[in-house]
Amino acid sequence: MDAQAPLWLGIVLYRTEPAALALLQRSLDAAARHPRAPALTLRQLDNSPPARNIGFGAAHNKLMAEAFEHPATRAYLCVNPDAVLHPDCLAELWAEAQLNPRAALIEALQHPDEHAKPYDPATHATPWASGCALLITRLAYEALGGFDERFFLYCEDVDLSWRARAAGLHVGVAPRALVHHYVADRTADHGSVAQMEKSAALLGEKVAASPELRAVADLRHGLKFAKARW
């Protein structure tokens, strides 16, 4: 791991199972060995007690700020601690980011059940990108300044995506970069649902107040934020 690496990778923990983190770490090690993967610096920030939980976006912003202080850093990759990277994931994300000079946010394709939200099979452009495994370029960071920290959890990735698109930047999927992440069988507790609704309300307020965001936002599909492909 090299502080002058072009790619920084940040993981925000919250009561993460050690086994899950170990699996992610093994997948990261394998992905970093790919011959086309960029050199990498890894940072973690633990929001678990006794630390104060500052929220997902704020924690990544701290890590991102440290990353982009280094002039050599070209992108920051946020990865969920319950994700597993495919061995080609880093190389393919990096390659995808080089395809478009306006690339701001590039998400890995979730596996085995990819998001039903649409993307263009030719340009890979998508209405919004998930924060599960999201590459944020220096261009995006300098133009947008990271996540809006008023979102404690949920919807901060949608907000960042819409702000990027409103600024004329490219938000896309890397279809060859797989990240294993599956949450469909999880039951959301009351706190999670409340948090989701609070974040959605904030997103709605922001869209209502901004003609630029209204031009790119899609609030017609509830919390899915885009028409599903199926």
Binding site: P112, D113, A122, P175, L178, H180, A184, R229, W230
Partner: protein
């Protein structure tokens, strides 16, 4: 070459390779002979008895073959005989063998099944290495442990690709994997047989490259097996419509969930896929799970159908589909006449009424078939 005419004589032979031919006690010809009162006096043993005897004698099976009697002498009309054979073979696929052939060598019997191990056999024809990679990645991240992956492929480039793909995902340390050669005119059946025979787990599943399991698929199925003390459990799946994207990747344009686990429709429409199933081989006992009929229009469906004729499947309680497979061109829906186990009793009675056999024989066979169907329909109703 020395010859032995009994197991005792076999035990007395000098140690070395041994070829054994047996008349099969559980063959359809023999069972039907018994049924119509024309039982043969010739000695015979069942395959299970033979295998147990070989193990006792310290002989390991290196190869197995079987042959049907080309001209069975049964006092039954040809159509009736064919129908009854189909019924019996539905209940036990091994019954199609009139003669069993074994090549034996001194050695240990196969290791017993590992009681907590899940073995997943993946068949890879060599056609789509990206599909194989995605299947293995999904398996490597599923939640059941311990896990054995057995990937069968034709010898050559495909097998090398399997080895490479297994090595690519090995750093996750979530499975043990091995590549197996499966060659022959009917790849799918050969790969099934090779994989199932090599798999060491009590719990067994079979996929094709391109099938994707969600992380909870096998834990849910294991829960269903335990809950209902069942030998096989089924999960609901979905099919993904894949098309090529301009850059050569596959683009998922849609997914269709199975509305529900409607076994009757899945069977009739030949949409019953092995990916939906998890087998508990300890509970299944002697059922011949390793043999697909490569000449059948829907070999997997037929095997499952035979199994369901004996044992009612348990169902996963998951609210959502737990696996997906690429949308495929399914075989034409089955006509009822092609499904011997599901053939209506009325059809059978109509056929039997036309059989050129003395009335007493017709009634006797009809009674036996009636009893078998009553038992079967009882099993279905218990689902």
């Amino acid at each position: 070459m020395q010859r032995a005419r009994s197991l005792d004589e076999l035990a007395a032979l000098p140690r070395g390779p041994v070829l054994v031919a047996l008349r099969h006690a559980g063959s359809t010809s023999r069972l039907l002979s018994e049924l119509i009162g024309e039982g043969s006096a010739e000695p015979a043993v069942s395959e299970q008895q033979a295998l147990a005897a070989f193990a006792r004698l310290g002989l390991a099976v290196r190869a197995r073959g079987q042959a049907a009697d080309p001209a069975p002498r049964l006092a039954l009309a040809a159509a009736t005989g064919k129908l009854l054979r189909a019924l019996l073979e539905s209940l036990q696929p091994l019954s199609s063998a009139d003669f069993l052939l074994f090549a034996l060598e001194p050695g240990a019997a196969p290791a017993p099944l590992q009681s907590t191990l899940l073995s997943v056999v993946v068949r890879f024809s060599g056609a789509d290495e990206v599909a194989l990679d995605r299947t293995l990645f999904a398996l490597a991240c599923q939640r059941s442990a311990p896990l054995e992956l057995v990937v069968a492929a034709p010898s050559g480039a495909a097998l090398l690709e399997v080895e490479s793909a297994l090595a690519r995902h090995a750093p996750l340390q979530t499975f043990t994997g091995r590549a197996l050669a499966a060659d022959g005119a009917h790849f799918s059946a050969a790969a099934w047989a090779a994989g199932v025979t090599a798999a060491q787990g009590r719990y067994l599943a079979v996929l094709e490259a391109g099938d994707l399991v969600y992380p909870h698929h096998y834990p849910d199925l294991m829960t269903a097996l335990a809950r209902e003390d069942a030998g096989v459990a089924l999960a609901r799946g979905r099919s993904a419509q894949l098309g090529p994207a301009p850059d050569g990747t596959s683009f998922v344009s849609g997914k269709t969930d199975e509305a529900a686990l409607d076994l009757g429709s899945l069977i009739r429409e030949r949409k019953l896929t092995a990916a939906a199933a998890l087998f508990d081989r300890q509970r299944l006992g002697a059922f011949a799970l390793d043999r697909l009929d490569p000449t059948a229009k829907d070999p997997e469906g037929l095997l499952l159908l035979r199994l369901f004729a004996l044992l009612a499947p348990a169902h996963s309680a998951a609210a959502l589909p737990s696996f997906e497979h690429p949308a495929r061109a399914w075989p034409a829906p089955a006509r009822s006449a092609e499904l011997p186990v599901l053939r209506s009793l009325g059809d059978l009675e109509q056929l039997l009424a036309l059989a050129p056999a003395p009335p007493w024989l017709r009634y006797r066979v009809a009674d036996a078939v009636n009893s078998a169907f009553r038992a079967l329909s009882g099993l279905w109703r218990k689902r």
